[in-house]
Symmetry: C2
Subunit: 399 residues, 2 copies
């Protein structure tokens, strides 16, 4: 059986995701779609809107065949490490291709860009380094360096677009790991990454859907932006927790943690650099809600996403030391499967390159224990008392 | 002007406290009563039922002339260190005597006990050490050693009684610091330390009053156990926070903190010894409320009080390292005063041996910063968003 891989968050699963999954299957000619999906904390440094079990249900009910968990250490990392973890898992589970959504929509410009940057790597790194020294943010430095190498940019990937950037890193990770998976890309349709919802259009960004929900729209009112299959899992989640995940919801625990640790200790947590611990601490003293807090901490130097990743690591207690102890994924955590997904696992079991883990209790790897820990931290942010849920929830099966 | 000192928690201020304050004034012949009062966390290792400002109001309205804060590091310490801090502050502010409530009710047995243990100190320490090796709790070991030295105990203080124990430590602290304050004691009346309330008796323990409140009695229903002056401050506190302080109220933040830190980090916090960090961590995983949690952690080896002190330090992030950095109080933090209290300060200002601090912003001492920190931690446990309260609340004046 031939599998195509996608690297996703599905936060929540919407019509754009459905389109992407269907096109990935069609373009690749694969028998099944395998999703590597982030756990409870996401790449923008946020607690997930819907927990990983709810997102797994949405994925399976929309036609994804296998959902495996992208470990916390990758799921909450900057794009290059996020991509590294996702690609490593898709490779390990035996995908013959992987497919990402992009603004660009065709693969050639990405291949051209990879080739250019591989050939002129030293020059590229030097330009980035110089730009960072002037005080601009890393993503901006990267983009400026890239623009100066590609000239007018024709024929190359446009790396000002968020999905193009991720796609570029997927290719980089695949190339660096010597993967033989074929890269594919699908054009994203109808909504940009952060676009708010717009009446009459069936495609909205996940960000737009989340924002609309927190502004008071109900799951039902947002149903035109999602496949029918997303509605029930989201309603069940809302009933279970009384709310969905957001930094606003998690802020009392985050604030307590920041103030309890104090600046000297805050430095221990992953991604905290250059004295920002003082600003984080001082801002938590005065800000009574998350939006006020983050607006005090944001600056030209650090993007909101980067700061949120720091906050995620403070919240979970994830240190530089632990981050540096990890090298590559050591397991494949199965979150859910369709009948086709199960057949695939049965047929390819002996070719899968990492241990397949179905139950939290089987996770003895430090990276996996961190995923269990992140779930306990997430559930407390959600106000749940059922902290054993990670251990009592088996992989979801849709036969 | 002549001052008598008392070391108190007033959690909350009840008829027994009123009796003690009045008797202290009478016995000492002093012009004013000065209370050194614990801040937001108490000696039994608990968040205060009423915050320190509410307790200051109750004290002033019941006739106390000066209220100064016992710093966190002493207020949450075992009896000997608690006593050391309290005595040092009473000495520094110029009291000519100090007066404690005791089950014993007369000072001679305490003086006899102090003399005996000073003379036979090595033997006493050896007996304690041996007993602890057999696995019994430290307070019990201390008591057994003491009993074996005093024979049938006649003429000596009965150190099985909680207030006698504290009194004994006050004498010890005064003696060790070379204080010239005269020790006085008043017999406690009507209720033992932990006794529940009993209808028809005007005296109940503070523990009994707190328990009755959490079982559903209102402040008004408990008014027969407290002077009239305690009622309004307690009602104001209840209105402000919607509740009173307790571990049950603070448990979600405590649990989050325990689970976030994990056993290896928990060892860093003050009083955590002998592997109890593992039990604390495992118990937090499963216990959904504080009573279930503490019942899993309690053991023959550690009293509930001792464990609660560990939990207090985990909650506030107070480490062994910080604990060991402190030597003696470096300031006197003024929480409130009557007109008499103010006259006393004006008259004796130049004889006061430590800087008198009226405002949090003037506290630059590490010990004082810890008090400010403890207040921020307490207010978050109480669900208050007004974390600047420590800085915006001046000393309370009752003219």
């Amino acid at each position: 059986m031939k599998a195509v891989g996608v690297i996703v968050e599905y936060n929540p699963f919407h019509n754009g995701h459905l389109h992407h999954a269907q096109q990935a299957r069609a373009e690749s000619g694969a028998d099944l779609v395998i999703a590597v999906m982030s756990g409870q904390f996401l790449q923008r440094g946020e607690p997930a809107f819907a927990d990983k079990w709810t997102r797994t249900q949405m994925a399976l009910d929309a036609g994804i065949d296998l959902v495996i968990e992208l470990p916390y250490v990758y799921a909450t990392a900057q794009a290059s490490d996020f991509a590294k973890g996702g690609i490593a898992l898709l490779e390990a589970i035996g995908c013959s291709s992987f497919c990402f959504g992009s603004e660009q929509g065709s693969i050639a410009p990405f291949l051209n860009s990879r080739e250019l940057l591989t050939e002129r790597s030293a020059e590229y790194q030097h330009l980035i380094h110089e730009a960072v020294q002037t005080g601009i943010s890393y993503p901006k430095a990267l983009n400026n360096a890239y623009l100066s190498l590609t000239g007018n940019g024709a024929g190359f990937a446009d790396l000002t677009q968020p999905n193009n950037i991720l796609g570029f890193h997927y290719l980089e990770a695949a190339q660096n790991s010597g993967s033989s998976m074929k890269p594919l890309t699908i054009q994203r349709i109808g909504a940009n990454y952060h676009d708010p919802i717009r009446a009459g259009l069936p495609i909205a960004s996940a960000t737009g859907i989340r924002e609309a929900f927190f502004k008071g729209e109900s799951v039902d009112e947002l149903s035109s932006y999602m496949p029918e299959s997303s509605i029930l899992p989201l309603k069940n989640m809302e009933q279970e927790y009384g709310t969905f995940g957001s930094w606003e919801q998690f802020y009392p625990l985050l604030r307590f943690t920041v103030l309890r640790e104090g600046p000297a200790n805050l430095k221990r947590f992953a991604e905290i650099t250059e004295g920002i611990e003082n600003l984080i601490y001082q801002s938590a003293k005065t800000a009574n809600d998350f939006e006020s807090f983050i607006s005090l901490v944001k600056s030209k130097r650090f993007t909101r996403t980067r700061i949120q990743r720091m906050l995620t690591h403070i919240y979970t207690g994830f240190t530089w030391q632990l981050l540096r102890s990890f090298e590559a994924p050591g397991y494949i955590r199965l979150l859910g499967m369709s009948a086709t997904g199960r057949s695939y696992l049965n047929q390819t079991k002996k070719n899968i390159k990492l241990p397949l883990v179905s139950r939290a209790a089987e996770l003895h790897d430090e990276m996996g224990k961190l995923d269990i820990h992140a779930t306990a931290m997430y559930l407390q942010g959600m106000g749940s008392a059922d902290l054993k849920k990670e251990f009592t929830t088996p992989p979801i099966y849709r036969g």
